[in-house]
Point group: C2
Chain length 223, copies 2
DNA sequence: TGACCTGATACGTCGGAGGTCTTGAGCGAC
DNA sequence: GTCGCTCAAGACCTCCGACGTATCAGGTCA
């Protein structure tokens, strides 16, 4: 195994074992390199790799730190990965989202606060009946994110955030707006919100399923 | 932005735009560094980072290639990330798995082949009534993986594979085997298999839910 | 007291020099 | 003709030393 890969494993080990805790500062590059028995250049490759997936946070002129390791932060790196997928796997991602999002919406129905319900309502009201494509995409993303956050599971939230990444969503909407789907989407958002306000988990789940299934159906007929 | 980060973005751009396709070979380090306008050392950091998340495949003595970019390969990197999470977020991961796995099992009930059913049966038979901890862990992992693969969604499969990563699973089982849970787990596996053989999606879904919920319950009472 | 300057510290970038591994061409034995 | 070996070229691996740049702490001066 290459020395850089060993270094990655060792640093990972230090964090997993608890020798390095979230927020801790690593020894400076030259020292750490000496400790791990490799050159500074090779160590930097290891640090850079761990920095890309948000395990480490490197600050020039200051030092290198372990991040908070929040699920949200770590799974955020997943959206980087999702960006690489081509259209032929979008349906599979959507199918997973079709499983997760209704469940998350149902969970949210039992926990969401009145404030958040009001915030979602205001958000939909602000959009109006005939929004621009950019506004619609942004709103859709925010609407679903707001609901999923109320599910209380940060892993679930981050996962869905990654799955519904900007790229995927944008690709879908680009063509979707050409049909009548805009109006239907807005109506479905209203229906989901109403179910949440009623604390009706099953209705919320069903509306979320319908909502995603309609996108899926359209996408399937297009590809 | 640092030159290395720029290089990461540029390489990513070349892949996403289609200039580099899966399996393609990159120019050699010195050339690519010259093209992108940075030193070989800095470029290597970018390549190493993309290699960690399985975007690039570096072969010493040969060259650097774009991987197949299969969802399976890319999401495999997720298990690396999951390893960093401590016990306090295990429950959240398990909750997500509790959503996905029953759905995957239900999907599998409609698609699984006779051969695979036989293979799963043989696998359970081979294990016997009083297996060792190592065998049980390996069997559990294989059993669920086999079912999820039959769901026909590779993204779903990879995602569950990452969530049920070896670390998490091992931690759970280590203590779980101290109680009577072994026998119950084996019986639940049998029940899931029977439901699959009956092509009864709802029964399969329910048994999978029960199966995971029992683990979740035990874990919740322990932490 | 507060703004500014300055030195120490640590990461960022670079160029070059060997080392190691893979590959494929060339060549001889069977 | 085919198989196996040798060997050289190509490409990545590792290291070193130097210099650039950003941050922070402490001191200076108005």
């Amino acid at each position: 195994m290459a020395v850089t890969d060993e270094a990655i494993e060792k640093i990972k080990g230090m964090i997993v074992s608890g020798a390095l805790r979230p927020g801790d500062r690593l020894p400076k590059e030259s020292e750490l390199a000496a400790d791990l028995g490799l050159s500074r250049n090779s160590l930097r490759e290891a640090v850079r790799a761990l920095s890309l997936i948000r395990i480490l946070d490197v600050r020039q002129g200051d030092g290198t730190y372990v991040t908070s390791l929040d699920p949200q932060l770590l799974l955020e790196a997943m959206s980087f990965v999702v960006d690489f997928h081509r259209d032929d796997t979008v349906l599979e991602f959507l199918a997973v989202r079709r499983i997760l999002e209704p469940a998350a919406t149902a969970m949210a129905a039992l926990r969401i606060s009145e404030q958040q319900l009001d915030a979602l309502t205001a958000q939909l009201d602000k959009l109006g009946d005939d929004p621009s494509v950019e506004d619609l995409v942004a709103c859709d993303l925010e609407f679903h994110r707001g609901i999923v956050q109320s599910s209380g599971n940060s892993v679930l939230c981050s996962l869905l955030d990654g799955l519904s990444g900007p790229t995927t969503r944008a690709r879908i909407w680009r063509g979707l707006t050409q049909e009548d789907a805009v109006g239907r989407t807005l109506r479905e958002h209203r229906a989901i919100l109403a179910a949440l306000r009623d604390r009706d988990a099953e209705a919320a789940r069903s509306w979320a399923t319908v909502h995603i299934a309609s996108v899926e159906q359209w996408l399937r007929s297009t590809l």
